[in-house]
């Protein structure tokens, strides 16, 4: 009897340290119950309030446990500097994205429908697209996704990581299909994302199996040990690592696993795109950093060339294809791909001999880019005509004359993407490239600098189009944003400016946080 009890002894769980994600999962579950039991009219305020409060609460808890450095839940979850930093980042970016998601003044009833899977073009779909009192399902989905992302960046074994991957991916697939306008495009995006994402997950899972075959363990620390001591065939290790990397790089939108990005970014409802561009990047790179530098640090040298090659490909393909885009959302999607390349440069800069600049600058980059990209997509939601958002670039001609304020804001954000000094884009690129150069990756820095010039062109083209072209009859108006979108834009733009002129506090914070526990 005593024996059985010992065998069933549950692992110690530090609930306080895990509270940020627990709060979000709890709130998401409550959100589902709200959908089931609250009246239609009351759901929107309740859901919005619940999501906002839970995100703020999660953020508060992150701050309160900020000094925790431990493994908990039987070593399945790491609560360390990078995990907490990224959890905080996810909470803040989640709040900003939530403000865009919750905006209802631009479109009666908000930009979402209730059911993603109704066949597009049918009567039922038309009916649901015209309902004004539905579409609150997106809030619990958002919370589940954020909770999953938080778990993803702090998972300390491969199986937990896989579970987290699925927990945040499934809501995202669904959210992509919820657009009220252009239903077919939205569903196509959701299906594409789902299918490719399912493949990526399968690769990831297969990779776990390979690694398990090699190390006999799925725990990161154990894998780290096994790489030195195991006598098994290394082929298993490399194959497993490659398959894992495919799964992670898919989420990070690195070339050649990027093909879903433009279609999904274009088809998904813009607030969801903003959420994905900011938060999915954080989650994917958080997990990538942890996998590489906690579990596979001893093979990092073998990896360097491969990941370096992928980084170069990502930067080049992202920036070159961005030049040819004619749709603003696709343009931002390719820019997001190129930014994944710059982040990979930062990932590679995480060197041995106690140099944490690469990790710190990558985390800084994730925050800076997240704020700018949420605000940029926020502006995209404002440029509308009778059919919804006008995303074709030709329609943006002369927007500066129609509404100088938002055109100016968008220009500022594009300058940040282009890495012009006094914006967060410059600081973050400088930090990442500086760290990469310090760890001897000069060739990546050179290519990074060249591609950022190429990438400056599409941005500049948009700026020229917006300011120097005559507004045509086709130029849509810019809707007056409601309080929520205004707040999101203000936060995003202010952060972009502040991180450009006074980045030191966040740089300090990220470099203090930049140490994994194993």
């Amino acid at each position: 009897m005593i024996l059985t009890q010992e065998a069933l002894k549950l692992p110690q769980i530090n609930y306080v340290a895990l509270s940020p994600m627990l709060i979000l999962f709890g709130a998401a579950t409550v959100g589902v119950l709200v959908e089931a039991f609250a009246g239609r009219g009351r759901r929107y305020p309740v859901q919005l309030g619940l999501s906002l409060v839970s995100l703020v609460a999660a953020l508060v808890m992150v701050v309160r446990v900020a000094h925790t450095r431990e493994l908990t839940a039987g070593g399945a979850v790491a609560v360390d500097g990078p995990a907490l930093f990224l959890e905080g980042t996810l909470a803040v970016l989640g709040i900003v994205a939530l403000l865009l998601v919750a905006e209802r003044s631009l479109e009666p009833g908000g930009p979402f429908v209730a059911v993603a899977a109704v066949t597009a073009g049918t009567e039922a779909d038309r009916v649901q697209a015209q309902r004004r009192d539905a579409g609150t399902e997106v809030y619990p989905l958002l919370l589940f996704a954020l909770g999953g992302m938080m778990l993803f960046v702090s998972a300390n074994d491969l199986l937990t990581m896989f579970v987290a991957l699925e927990v945040f991916s499934l809501p995202l697939y669904l959210m992509c299909g919820l657009a009220r306008r252009r239903r077919l495009l939205s569903q196509e995006a959701a299906l594409k994302y789902f299918l490719l994402g399912a493949f990526a997950s399968a690769f990831f899972l297969f990779g776990i199996a390979m690694i398990y075959g090699y190390a006999g363990q799925i725990n990161f620390a154990a894998i780290h040990e096994a790489i030195q001591s195991s006598t098994n065939d290394r082929i298993l290790l490399y194959l497993g690592l490659a398959l894992l990397a495919i799964g992670l790089l898919f989420k990070a939108a690195a070339v050649p696993f990027h093909v879903w990005t433009p279609d999904v970014y274009q088809g998904a409802p813009t607030p969801v795109t903003a959420f994905m561009a900011a938060c999915t990047k954080v989650a994917a790179f958080g997990a990538l950093l942890r996998v590489i530098y906690v579990a596979f640090e001893r093979t990092a040298w073998d990896l360097r060339l491969v990941i370096g090659g992928i980084a170069v490909l990502t930067m080049v393909v992202g920036s070159v294809l961005a030049v040819t885009q004619t749709d603003i959302k696709r343009l931002l999607a390719y820019s997001s791909i190129a930014n994944a390349g710059y982040l990979l440069v930062g990932v590679l800069a995480v060197g041995g001999n106690g140099n944490h600049d690469g990790l710190a600058s990558s985390m800084f980059y994730l925050v800076a880019y997240g704020f700018s990209v949420v605000a940029a997509f926020g502006v995209v939601t404002l440029v509308r005509d009778a059919d919804g958002e006008a995303t074709h670039l030709s329609r943006w001609a002369g927007l500066g004359r129609r509404s100088p304020l938002y055109a100016g804001l968008f220009t500022f954000l594009l300058l940040a993407f282009a890495g012009i000094p006094l914006t967060s884009g410059f600081t973050s690129k400088f930090a990442v490239f500086g760290a990469a150069l310090a760890s001897g990756q000069a060739w990546l820095v050179v290519l990074g600098a060249i591609t950022s010039v190429i990438l400056a062109f599409p941005y500049l083209r948009v700026v020229v189009l917006v300011w120097l072209s005559e507004p045509g009859e086709n130029t849509p108006t810019v809707s007056i944003p409601g309080a929520l979108t205004s707040a999101a834009l203000a936060i995003g733009a202010l952060a972009t400016l502040l991180l450009g002129i006074a980045p030191q506090p966040l740089l300090d914070l990220s470099s203090r946080a930049a140490e994994f526990v194993r």
Binding site: F426, L437, V445, A449, V453, Q504
Partner: protein, 478 residues
Amino acid sequence: MTWVLVAVLAVPAVGAVFRSRAVAAGAAAIAFLLSVALATGRSDGGLTGPIRPWHQLDVSWVPGLNLRFHLGVDGISYPLVVLTTLLTLLCCVYLLWTDGDGTLAALLLVIEVGIVGVFLALDLVLFFVFFEIVLLPMYAVIAGWGGAGRRPAARKFVLYTLFGSVLLLVGVFVVVSRAGTADLVVLSAQHMLPADTQLAAFILLSIAFAVKSPLWPLHTWLPDAHTEAPTVGSVILAGVLLKMGTYGLLRVAVGVLPDGARRVAPVLGVLAVTAILVGGLVCLAQTELKRLIAYSSVGHMGFVLLGIATLTATGFEAALIGNVAHGIITGLLFFLAGAIKDRTHTGDLSELGGLRETAPYLSGILGYAAIASLGLPGLAGFWGEAFAVIAALRRGGPLWTVLAVLAALGGALAAAYFLRLLYRVTHGAARPAVVGIGEPVPGELVAWAPLVVLALAVGLVPALVLGVAQTAVQVMAP
């Protein structure tokens, strides 16, 4: 005095916010007075390195990126700072009198902040930040207020400059990460980089600065940008923006990387003399007024670069006074070209004949500026070119002697094409385009007069520039 360093940047920055011509002129005037005042209370502060700022301000900004807000002014930067504030002031006054645009004036102030910042920065990263700030407002000035072909011209300008910025950025990265500091005072005092790193970094930086200067064969953006830019844009572009390149080459590339400089200097010298000759020959064949002046800039900047390439104190002095003289004279020439084009709506030399008949004062000033530009002794243009040739001769050896001779020939070419310009434009019977055009209005005269006076003053008393710069140049020359 350190507050003046900040104020000279802050005043135009604040003035730009209002987007009003009157405010811009006021801010530019205050900035000019402040910049002149920088010369008071000079002392080398007991420093012994090659850079001994009279005043400096050193505040930590972003230690994580090695970025310090480190400003300082010395004999090399002071004349350029004053030139910048003066030309910006004159441009703002010009806009005030003519039907200028408040936004255009505001952009000029932003450009001023960037350029003055480049001249004042004593931190390499800060230098880069200011270098970049100039790019977009200048692009906007050309693309927003330029002539018919402004879009392609502006695009070309951006393309070249961004290309230069990338090389500059990589060069800055190399220097800062290898040396572990971005402080220009420290970097120029202790050359801690190994020779190969110096060579690589020098090549990167000198190409970056050569794009800006511009040095042949990276100059092709310049004529287009000048031809299409509005008058004030051309004045700022030629007057001071190009100086960022030569100043950067002198202070950053040569100052921080002397070993690299020694190894590349002959190449720079050859390119500089090629620029002088090519600029002169192209000018002889030019038929468009602003293009001609733009190409003459290529030649003049060739002399400046030749001076720097000799790596001697005489050469540096030549570069410095050449920079200032070119800023004054070419600024004036572009003002005049703008005035003529505004009146006649053409820049074609063959259609401008007989200007002397219909607007004798205007053509008189044009003649004065052209003669100053061709390097007549007694006017400002003479010293820079003469000293550059002398510096190359003194450097000795067959290569430098040949370069000196060719550069002197290039100086003669300048005389030829400017006299051809005057012959075409001012002499002969009045062509239809110049009939009935007005003489300079008071606003224009106010904007031009300081330049006319300075061209003579610097020509007669070169010590105006060289006096303040002498110590700085002497300690800098290797």
